[in-house]
């Protein structure tokens, strides 16, 4: 099947000018202009420059024209183009972010909502501008004890990187509380960073706000280096992506796992604890950063199927062909901009497919999706009720 990308080191200093001399750039020279990328892109029909065309403009030396257009701001970093490209060209994580960064530099002002989020990330370490000192406040409601690295003062097996939405947003905290219960039930030796943690900066990377991403990554690495832990686990698919692909360039040596991957590895022990039947028909949305980015399609599904009473159904677009929720690559903070441009919301498109399955639950594995799909369900008409739940929430509910 479609190749999953190994964490490969892309030179941090690469620019659009030097790209074609790098190994990733040499691959771009092999592009056969088949248009699979443009044809699969969820916003392909509104882009002035499809990914395919960007490559040919790059090879022809016409990048100025591409950057003059705002077209590439529509890239939601969903990996669809890259996963299907017959030449294995690194569009989503190498070429397109480089172009996007230039577009953002050229087009001032940036879309306001987007600008604000980047500023918040820079100033507060989270895109919503919440107080960093309240980052660990949710732990009071966790129901189980959440050890904090700075207090624990010893090596742990799992450093759990909680991330922003899951720390501050009520629906995100549901995810964190569920994860805490699951870790507790499994007897995982874990701790979190608490208020020391800052946004992993993944979207900074995929929008290639490279300065911002680097400062966040360097900050987090400094904190990591203070402590001893054997693996990094996070429930945020975007943060996982950053740890998997990018942080190794900043010196991260421990393996990173997404909670679904971690829990699926312990399914033998977890399954007997899932005693409470849920009697739900569930459809699973593949998060781009888990599925196409790293080939992790099965873990979320295996966990859901381990819950007694859960019947799994698939949407029309699934696995490698999944449809993006539209939150990646900065899309999370570009909704207003997209609306102004008359583009439809990808989360609306996606929930239509979920509704069509007749499922009771749209299960997700990325905190962005909770809010995006819940918003979409408010506007997309449906008769049978359907709710959005993270996989971990369902698992925790099934714990006896």
């Amino acid at each position: 099947m479609v190749a999953t990308r190994e964490p490969a080191v892309v030179d941090r200093t690469t620019t659009l000018e030097t790209l074609l001399q790098t190994p990733a750039g040499k691959r771009m020279m092999t592009c056969i202009q088949c248009g699979t990328c443009g044809g699969t892109c969820p916003y392909g029909d509104t882009m002035d420059f499809s990914p395919r065309l960007v490559i040919n403009m790059l090879r022809g030396g016409f990048m100025d024209e591409v950057i003059k257009s705002e077209s590439l701001l529509q890239c939601v970093a969903c990996y669809a183009c890259m996963a299907k490209c017959p030449r294995g060209i690194r569009l989503t994580d190498v070429l397109l972010p480089l172009v996007k960064e230039q577009v953002l530099v050229t087009h001032t002002p940036m879309p306001a909502e987007f600008q604000k989020s980047l500023e918040n990330m820079n100033r507060y370490g989270n895109p919503m501008g919440e107080s960093p000192r309240k980052r660990a406040a949710w732990t009071a409601t966790a129901g189980v004890k959440i050890p904090i690295m700075a207090e624990l003062k010893r090596e742990v097996d799992v450093l759990w990187f909680v991330e922003c939405y899951t720390s501050f947003y009520a629906r995100g905290q549901d995810n964190s509380r569920a994860t805490a219960r699951l870790f507790n039930a499994l007897g995982v030796d874990f701790a979190i960073l608490g208020n020391e943690e800052k946004c992993a900066g993944e979207c900074g990377q995929l929008t290639w706000e490279s300065g911002l991403f680097e400062s966040l990554a360097e900050y987090n690495m400094k904190v990591f280096n203070k402590y001893k832990f054997r693996r990094l686990v996070t429930g945020d698919a975007h943060a996982y992506n950053a740890f998997h692909f990018r942080y190794p360039m900043f010196g991260l040596t421990q393996p990173a796992e997404h909670t679904t991957q971690f829990l699926a590895r312990h399914l033998d022990r977890l399954k007997p604890m899932l005693k409470k039947p849920l009697d739900l028909t569930v459809t699973y949305h593949d998060a781009c950063c888990l599925g196409r980015a790293t080939g992790s399609y099965d873990e979320g599904r295996a966990l859901l199927q381990a819950i007694p009473g859960v019947k799994l159904v698939e949407m029309v677009h699934n696995r490698v062909n999944s449809l993006c929720c539209g939150g990646g690559g900065g899309g999370m903070w570009l909704d207003t901009y997209y609306k102004q441009k008359g583009m439809d919301r990808l989360s609306d498109r996606r929930v239509k497919e979920a509704i069509a399955t007749g499922a009771d639950v749209l299960a997700v594995a990325c905190p962005y999706e909770i809010s995006r799909f819940e918003d979409a369900l408010k506007v997309v008409p449906h008769t049978k009720p359907i709710v959005v739940r993270d996989v971990v929430e369902l698992l925790a509910e099934s714990l006896a």
């Binding site: 099947m1 443009g38 044809g39 699969t40 677009h317 490698v320």
Partner: protein
């Protein structure tokens, strides 16, 4: 002329020649300096450089020197021995010297072509020359042995390539064994309706050839059979063939099909393999109307007279539960035999032609085209069957719901040119896609959309064919399909949307169609690797059988006496498959008609006095050339089987195996020469 054998103690007199090879060698090696240097080495009587040693005057030079300077050893420093060792040995022999007194040094492939520093390359040429000058005095006079060749030929695979090779050889009077795995010959071509570029009816040209194979006195046709074992070597291969039971006595069945009509199953009920499951057949059936051999077979998996399921050894047990109306219908012909078992045939042949063809790409591996998910997505071979008058719909192109499609999308390059599946271009898909576009339009008058990446139509008449189809009003869209999904505006007709970027208009197209045809690529059989081992062949990294030389020996393999024909060597169309089959037959005939195989004398032999009888060498020999003489308690090497690989020589713990042309003193002197200092 009887070769001159230098008398013992006669002084060694070497003639040395370095070739310029135009500028191939001379541009990187100072040939004059090398010749001057070699003249100073011991035993060298003549040392020369010359523009083209392989030319007639070059060879003449060697012969003249042998006579005039009484040379008894020759060293030629030139290109690869693969190309010209034969030439220079012959020249040496022509002057009356044993050809094995000639040694070649490869200074082109091993030196001038791969280096960029002329001074260093010149020094390397000197060192290589010195090595040969030290080695050649130890050479002995050797004799080329001739072994007779068995004139019979085995052909594996009865597609168009195997059929053509079989007929060519059989018409030339050779006895041919044609082994085909399926119950009928014909291969893929038998499934097509028409063939590009001429649009002639496939079976009209194929069926006479199939029938000729079936009735040819020189062809033993064994269908529903597989090669189980191959031993021996060129000229003398021992082959074991397994003939699977079809529960019909081949010689007694007349192909009348009265049994089929009489079967207790009134209607055909089981998926029909020849029609890729698009049609149905009974438990007793003729594979297809023009099958060769034209005899029926019984499928024990579904026939009521057998117990359900296979036994662990793969056989089936008779249940005797059926009324056997078929047997009654067959009557006195007595062709039905429920007790038939697998039969093993042992044959000896001198040469083998591999013609096992290809397999189509399984489109399920690229799930976003919807194959196996949406019923109206077909692969191209299925559509060939739908168009075919003898197919499941008698040539009506209809969807599974019986409706005629009004809009059809043909998706090129499915499982080709793609690093996620197969990297190669399958060569025939663009053209067969155009053919299918034409045929679909002709049969249904549908709107046809061909989505292609690059339209590849090389070959005689092919571009003209492309032009003709384009003129008929096809939509030719340059862009690969990226997604296929159910049409949201469709009720229940199963219409799907095909989404692609039209790369020439920069537009994303979302075209609702009734039918999608996936132009699947060609790939090697999954069992090709087993065949490779069975026949001791090599495969390319993709799994196609590897030819000996891509340009100069395109149908030969690295195993002498085994030749390749058709798509088992790589994707190609019918004209090329047939051309290759003819070439393979000619190569086999060239060997057979010579009557004997010449054996390189670089074989190993055992010094009987020194052999301790430990038998370590016996299991190591890849050619099973070593046996054990129980009475004398010594190992012996069969010269006719030995290929000179040297494995046993290195393994013998008592050092009692010697290999001609690779004797210890030859090798050690060569190393000494190589390591000797050369002038700066």
């Amino acid at each position: 002329m009887k070769p001159i054998v230098p008398k013992k103690h006669e002084p060694v007199r070497i003639g040395y020649y370095i070739c310029h090879c135009g500028t191939n060698i001379a541009a990187m090696v100072d040939v004059e300096a090398v010749a001057k240097y070699v003249a100073t080495l011991p035993n060298v009587a003549v040392s020369r450089h010359y523009k083209y040693m392989c030319s007639d005057p070059g060879q003449e030079l060697i012969q003249q020197d042998i006579r005039e300077h009484r040379l008894n050893r020759i060293v030629v420093e030139a290109c690869s021995p693969l190309l010209h060792e034969h030439t220079f040995r012959k020249a040496t022999e022509a002057a009356g010297l044993n050809p094995f007194y000639c040694q070649m040094v490869n200074t082109r492939e091993h030196n001038s072509w791969v280096h960029t520093d002329r001074a260093e390359a010149t020094r390397k040429a000197m060192a290589l020359a010195h090595a040969a000058i030290e080695r050649v005095p130890h050479h002995k006079s050797l004799e080329v042995k001739k072994v007779p060749i068995n004139p019979d030929v085995l052909i594996v695979g009865g597609g168009i390539a195997g059929i053509h090779a079989a007929l060519t050889l059989a018409n030339a009077g050779k006895m041919v064994y044609l082994v085909e795995r399926e119950p009928t010959i014909g291969g893929h071509m038998a499934k097509f309706d028409k063939t590009y570029p001429t649009l002639d009816c496939a079976m009209c040209v194929l069926s006479p050839k199939m029938a000729a194979v079936g009735s040819h006195p020189n062809i033993h046709l064994w269908t529903y059979s597989e090669v189980a074992k191959v031993d021996g070597y060129v000229g003398n291969f021992q082959v074991t063939v397994r003939r699977k039971p079809r529960y019909i006595v081949e010689d007694l069945c007349t192909g009348c099909q009265e049994c089929v009509a009489a079967c207790v199953f009134k209607e055909p009920k089981f998926p029909d393999e020849f029609n890729l499951g698009l049609g149905k057949r009974k438990p007793v059936f003729l594979p297809f109307a023009q099958a060769i051999p034209p005899i029926v077979m019984i499928d024990p998996e579904v026939c009521l007279n057998f117990k359900r399921g296979k036994n662990p050894d793969g056989t089936h047990t008779v249940s005797d539960k059926c009324k056997k109306t078929c047997v009654q219908a067959c009557g006195d012909r007595k062709a039905i035999d429920f007790k038939q078992t697998e039969e093993t045939k042992n044959i000896t042949v001198g040469t083998i032609v591999m013609a096992t063809g290809f397999k189509i790409f399984d489109a399920r591996r690229t799930p976003f085209f919807g194959y196996g998910i949406y019923p109206n997505v077909y692969n191209a071979l299925e559509v060939e069957r739908l168009i075919n008058a003898s197919g499941p719909t008698e040539g009506e192109i209809v969807l599974r719901n019986g409706q005629r499609p009004k809009k059809v999308a043909i998706v090129h390059c499915v499982g080709s040119r793609d690093e996620n599946t197969n990297r190669w271009c399958s060569r025939v898909c663009c053209l067969y896609s155009l053919k299918l576009a034409h045929l679909i339009k002709e049969h249904t008058d549908a709107e046809v959309y061909n989505f292609y990446i690059d339209m590849r139509t090389p070959g005689k008449g092919m571009e003209e064919f492309y032009n003709r189809v384009a003129e008929e009003g096809m939509h030719l869209i340059r862009g690969k399909v990226a997604d296929v999904y159910p049409d949201p505006n469709d009720g229940a007709t199963g219409r799907v949307v095909v989404q692609a970027e039209d790369t020439l208009t920069n537009k994303i197209l979302k075209i609702p169609v009734d039918m999608v045809v996936l132009s699947v690529g060609l790939e090697p059989h999954p069992e090709a690797d087993n065949l490779r081992r069975l026949f001791n062949l090599s495969c390319s990294s993709e799994g196609w059988f590897l030819e000996r030389h891509v340009k100069l020996a395109p149908v030969s393999t690295f195993t002498d006496g085994i030749f390749l024909a058709g798509c088992c060597q790589g994707p190609k169309d019918i004209p090329d498959s047939v051309a290759q089959a003819g070439a393979a037959a000619a190569e086999a005939m060239a060997l057979i008609d010579k009557g004997h195989i010449e054996q390189e004398p670089n074989t190993a032999y055992i010094l009987a006095d020194e052999c301790s009888g430990c038998k370590s060498c016996i299991p190591l020999c890849p050619y099973s050339a070593i046996s054990f003489d129980e009475s004398r308690q010594k190992a012996i090497i069969n010269e006719a089987l030995c290929k000179g690989c040297g494995t046993c020589v290195a393994a013998c713990p008592s050092g009692s195996i010697v290999q001609n042309l690779f004797e210890d003193d030859e090798i050690f002197s060569e190393i000494e020469g190589l390591l000797a200092p050369v002038p700066a």
